[in-house]
């Protein structure tokens, strides 16, 4: 099984890598989501402008607070995704090599475990274990999102046509040459689909980082909830949704451009 993201607003990218749409279609596709996000944010701005904010609300919704939360959220999700890639792709390569293949059940079991425990559980467990703050939040996010990239790296490498590998070996490519010139480029679309899934998981899970003092847009939502200010909660929720859509939109574009031509 491979993970395929099913993001809202963007057509689903298939595992095998469907040809990217032609330019006019692409532009329309790429423009839709940012337009929607901008529209939603403008509406939110107008709505907030029409509200009479009390002192607590005003304190929770300062420009600085929102910017800081959004920046932190961006960092949490991108840094954790970076580490997910740095760990899961080499691990996936290793687990598809003949000598180390037998370790597959162990690592898949671990990664599965990481994903099966509810995300808040992973965060809290890691906080109790290591401590709280940015660094430990990242560790928890990585543990939680590693499975899709690991799984997709393995599936991506395993679905490469064996005759392509045979042809490469038969022409005199070394094993490393076959991996870097043939297997990995051909697995890129599937790996990217996994990375996109991991990224979206991380954007979502990072919302919970507030409970372990990790910051992020969850701070705003949580601030609204604990102070009983619905306006704040609502603003935090809209911002989080807009942020998730935006990241997924970027990931979709990256997927289209990073996919090797000719596939």
């Amino acid at each position: 099984m491979a993970f395929v993201p099913e993001p809202a607003g963007v057509p689903q990218a298939a595992v095998t890598g469907v040809a990217a749409p032609r330019w006019p279609g692409r532009v329309a596709r790429y423009a839709t989501v940012p337009l929607l996000i901008t529209f939603a944010l403008i509406l939110l701005y107008i709505y907030l402008g029409a509200q009479e904010l009390d002192s607590i609300e005003a304190r929770l919704l300062t420009r600085e607070k929102i910017t800081a939360a959004a920046t932190r959220h961006l960092w949490l999700s991108t840094v954790s995704t970076f580490f997910v890639i740095a760990i899961a792709v080499p691990l996936g390569i290793m687990l598809t090599r003949p000598l180390t293949k037998r370790l597959t059940p162990l690592f898949l079991g671990l990664a599965n475990g990481g994903q099966t425990v509810p995300s808040i559980g992973v965060l809290v467990l890691f906080a109790l274990w290591f401590g709280i703050g940015f660094k430990y939040t990242i560790i928890a996010l990585v543990a939680y999102a590693i499975l899709p990239v690991l799984r997709n790296t393995m599936v991506g490498l395993e679905q490469v046509d064996p005759f392509i590998i045979e042809a490469g070996r038969g022409m005199g490519l070394t094993k490393l040459g076959v991996l870097t010139r043939l297997e990995l480029p051909l697995a890129v679309p599937v790996i990217l689909a996994g990375v996109r899934t991991a990224l979206i998981i991380n954007v979502g899970t990072a919302t919970l980082a507030t409970f372990v003092n990790g910051g992020g847009l969850g701070n705003i939502i949580n601030g609204g909830l604990t102070s009983g200010r619905d306006v704040v909660t609502f603003t935090g929720a809209v911002l989080t949704a807009a942020f998730a859509l935006f990241i997924d939109w970027l990931a979709g574009i990256a997927e289209d451009f990073l996919r090797p031509k000719g596939l």
């Binding site: 046509d161 005759f163 392509i164 590998i165 045979e166 042809a167 490469g168 070996r169 038969g170 022409m171 005199g172 490519l173 070394t174 040459g177 010139r181 043939l182 480029p185 051909l186 090797p260 031509k261 000719g262 596939l263």
Partner: protein
């Protein structure tokens, strides 16, 4: 001649390019070896076909030559060097490799596919570019049109051509081909086979070619090794000898019925004396045409235009009809073949034609002669006689060269 000598007739016309010595492959957990102590020599510049029933070990044998499959025991010599323990990656760069599935790299352009081995060998860029264009030309594909395309944009036949070009990229002395035309429709396959034979006349590579199709083996091979289980050689010889003088009942069964017919694949129209059918210029009068018909013992006259191109077959009955001009009676010329056509194809054309012969024309469409049933019979008989004589001569030579028993 003993069966053993008959199975592997001496054939050292050229240098030996590849020598396999007691090559064996055993898979763990299997009683029978996949390939058992195979010893054979592959002469330089020839197409040697390994042919045999499925599971006989022919593909395993081929893949042991470039050590995609490592032999369990035995030796492989390439141009006299023992390469059994050489670096396999470097060894493979000296051998082109074409497989049935072709295995073009879908994420690389045609040029990048072809350039891969030269790049591994660190040729400079200019030389690689020139080589790519040269090879595309060689396999009949316009470089400016195809260089930057991706494999998915090509037809099956074009992909196969690129596969061959890619195998030739670093100009290896040896090509290994595993059923290269196996997955292609019969019409395209026939064309690719002919193109490949023409190409081989130019490049003169040493080619080891695996197929399960005896007809392909006869058509493509300078020599054929018919293999039975465990890649044991049942017979290793020139195709005409295998057809006329099969070593045993296994070979006979494998060739199947119609060995004489298959032999017709080995001869081309230009190799035989053409039959003489009466002709007349299309401007000739009925009297002149009738005269030409009477002088021959055939049933029809072929009318030719001023450039000797065939226009119409007419027979005596057509000549009696005066209601229409001569060129509108009779039959249109069918079954037109060229000097490079095999006799089997010519026979096939002839059988389809309503006049019992195939017309031979040259490149400018001018009439050269005809192939009829007598032509075919004669050539079958002469092939048989030649093969018999050669067998006798070789048997005699063996007796003469045998050392004195004293």
């Amino acid at each position: 001649m003993t069966e053993a000598t008959k199975a592997q007739r001496a054939h050292s016309d050229g240098e030996v390019m590849i020598r396999l010595e007691k090559l064996e492959k055993r898979y763990p957990g299997q009683k029978q070896p996949a390939v058992s102590e195979l010893t054979m020599e592959i002469p330089e510049g020839e197409i040697v076909i390994l042919v045999g029933p499925s599971g006989c070990g022919k593909t395993t044998t081929l893949k042991m030559i470039n050590r995609v499959i490592e032999p369990t025991s035995g030796r492989i010599l390439l141009e006299g060097d023992d390469v059994t323990n050489a670096n396999p990656d470097k060894l493979r760069r000296r051998m082109g490799y074409v497989i049935q599935q072709i295995g073009l790299f879908p994420h690389m352009t045609i040029a990048q596919n072809i350039a891969l081995v030269p790049r591994l060998l660190e040729w400079d860029k200019r030389r690689i570019d020139l080589r790519v264009d040269e090879l595309l030309d060689l396999v009949g594909m316009d470089p400016s049109k195809y260089r930057n395309r991706y494999p998915k944009e090509l037809s099956g036949g074009q992909r196969q051509r690129v596969g061959v070009a890619r195998a030739l990229s670093a100009d290896p002395p040896v090509m290994l081909m595993d059923e290269p035309f196996g997955a292609i429709d019969p019409i395209t396959r026939d064309r690719l086979q002919n193109e490949f034979l023409r190409l081989q006349e130019e490049i003169k590579k040493t080619i080891v070619f695996v197929t399960h199709d005896i007809d392909e083996a006869i058509k493509m091979g300078d020599r054929i090794a018919i293999l039975r289980d465990e890649s044991r050689i049942a017979q290793y010889d020139k195709p005409e000898h295998i057809l006329s003088d099969p070593a045993d009942s296994f070979v006979e069964d494998f060739i199947g019925r119609g060995a004489s017919l298959k032999g017709l694949n080995l001869k081309r129209v230009r190799d035989v004396e053409l039959a003489d059918w009466p002709t007349a210029p299309q401007t000739a009068s009925r009297g002149e045409v009738l005269e030409a018909l009477r002088r021959s013992d055939q049933g029809a006259v072929l009318l030719l235009d001023e450039r000797r191109r065939p226009r119409r077959w007419v027979d005596a009955r057509d000549l009696d009809r005066t209601d229409k001009p001569l060129l509108e009676t009779g039959l249109p010329p069918e079954a037109i073949v060229r000097p490079a056509t095999t006799l089997l194809d010519a026979l096939n054309e002839m059988l389809k034609s309503r006049v019992a012969c195939a017309i031979v024309v040259d490149d400018s469409e001018a009439y050269q002669g005809a192939v009829d049933i007598d032509t075919i019979m004669e050539s079958i008989q002469s092939m048989r006689a030649a093969a018999r004589d050669e067998s006798r001569a070789l048997a005699g030579a063996e007796i003469r060269t045998r050392p004195d028993p004293s």
